[in-house]
């Protein structure tokens, strides 16, 4: 993948999402956002814990892989979010602007939980060992490293590039408003769908190169990568509808919870839980869940949201021919 695409497009997508979100939020204000955000954070934490139990108990993965995978699926994916926005735009349906802010806030939540719990587990192991054997300077160092790592990762993920760009552009969007957006709308609005298409072509090529890896993922994780997003996403649609979000807003809320992180996850987890096998969480998130989410789950959630909002369902057959544009 040319760097032009791999490094530049994620920044561009984040900036475009943020700007749109900020502009919309100017119209609606902050109050409305509070409850959905708290609920989203709660669900993200809950789901992460739930994923862990499933992976550890049923999947028999080790602690590290279980927490890494649990948080990958508890976290959110900005690219998936972008595709959702562009899908809604094509359907002529709008969504709440503050969802961009929820995206930004959700980004580190699941990781922080998983890292915290992993460190707890490791410390406990070390402490048990220590008691049984004797005082040991190295173990002390081990524990100190573990807790330093947590605070460092926390700091890094909160001041991470993605969040800074996302929040920064929400603020800018809020300040400049619709009118100030005019001269740059060609770049950040009209080019948006085309940019996503180009990104997806390249991601398709990468995913293709990984077909081998996907076979190695195993039947359990493959099922997990399809079923969990489906459940999480549908819960998201229903809960957010109950909270009063619009048809499109509920779809995006569901998509947030359904999405798995495949750009941020490796960067965070490789440092925080280096013992976990990265090819497990990258391959399942990028190779299975991402295409499943945008091709299958997105229209399903749209249909569900349409039902529960009492509007006419989309023509699913017609959709299939349009999913990528």
């Amino acid at each position: 993948m040319p760097e032009a695409i791999s490094e530049f497009l994620p920044i561009y997508l984040l900036a475009a999402i943020g700007l749109h979100g900020g502009i919309e939020m100017r119209k609606t204000g902050f109050e409305e956002m509070l409850i959905p955000m708290v609920v989203a954070i709660g669900l993200s934490l809950l789901f992460t814990l739930n994923h862990y139990q499933i992976l550890r108990r049923l999947g028999k993965f080790n602690i590290f892989d279980s927490y890494a995978l649990a948080s990958t699926y508890g976290a959110v994916g900005a690219v998936t979010f972008s595709v959702g926005l562009s899908f809604l735009k094509n359907q002529g349906v709008s969504s709440e602007g503050y969802l961009a802010a929820i995206l930004a806030v959700l980004e580190p939540v699941a990781f922080i939980l998983a890292i915290f719990l992993t460190n707890m587990a490791v410390s406990k192991q070390i402490r048990t060992k220590k008691q049984s054997i004797s005082d040991d300077e190295e173990l002390d160092i081990g524990m100190k490293q573990t807790s330093t790592k947590l605070s460092q990762v926390l700091k890094e993920s909160i001041t991470g590039k993605a969040i800074v760009i996302l929040l920064g552009s929400i603020v800018i969007g809020y300040i400049i408003g619709k009118e100030g957006f005019e001269p740059i709308s060609i770049v950040f609005d009209e080019l948006f769908t085309g940019a996503i298409v180009i990104f997806m072509i390249e991601m398709g090529i990468i995913a293709g190169q990984r077909l081998e890896d996907i076979k190695k993922v195993g039947i359990f994780l493959t099922a997990f990568s399809v079923i969990i997003p489906t459940i999480n996403g549908i819960i998201g649609v229903l809960v957010s509808t109950a909270l009063g979000l619009s048809l499109g807003g509920a779809v995006m809320f569901g998509l947030l919870l359904a999405s798995a992180s495949f750009i941020a996850a490796p960067a965070v987890l490789r440092h925080a839980i280096p013992q976990a096998n990265p090819s497990l969480y990258i391959t399942s998130a990028l190779g299975i869940t991402f295409p499943y989410n945008i091709i299958v789950l997105l229209p399903i959630m749209f249909t569900i949201s349409t039902w529960v909002h009492g509007e006419e369902a989309i023509d699913l057959f017609n959709y299939v021919t349009k999913v990528f544009v």
Binding site: M1, S6, I206, P266, A267, H271, Q275, I282
Partner: protein, 100 residues
């Protein structure tokens, strides 16, 4: 012109371990190093296609012989188990020993 014998330590590892390597160098009071992105194949499979996070990096450090052992041991102990990584040491001659 006289060349003084020093060591060149070369570490090839996944890019996300670069920070850890440089941290270890710092712990040994080494601040001079050179890095660049590379691709490669090894026990952990083909690396370098796809996203930047999945690339490898080479870290090269010219240093005095007496420091090599400590640095290599720290890297072996903390990074060898979890990361895609190899390292090797070679002999090089330099003009200004005071720099290393």
């Amino acid at each position: 012109m006289k060349l003084y014998d020093v060591k060149l330590l070369t570490i090839t590892c996944e890019i996300l371990a670069q920070k850890n390597v440089i941290e270890i160098l710092k712990n040994h009071d080494i601040t001079g190093y050179t890095t660049y992105e590379v691709e490669g194949n090894g026990a952990k499979g083909l690396r370098g296609q796809g996203f930047k996070n999945e690339k490898n990096v080479k870290v090269e450090v010219v240093m005095r012989e007496e420091k090599i052992s400590g640095v290599v041991e720290d890297i072996s102990r903390t990074l060898f188990p979890d990361f895609a990584i190899i390292l090797y040491v070679s002999d090089v001659g330099v003009v200004r020993t005071e720099k290393f």
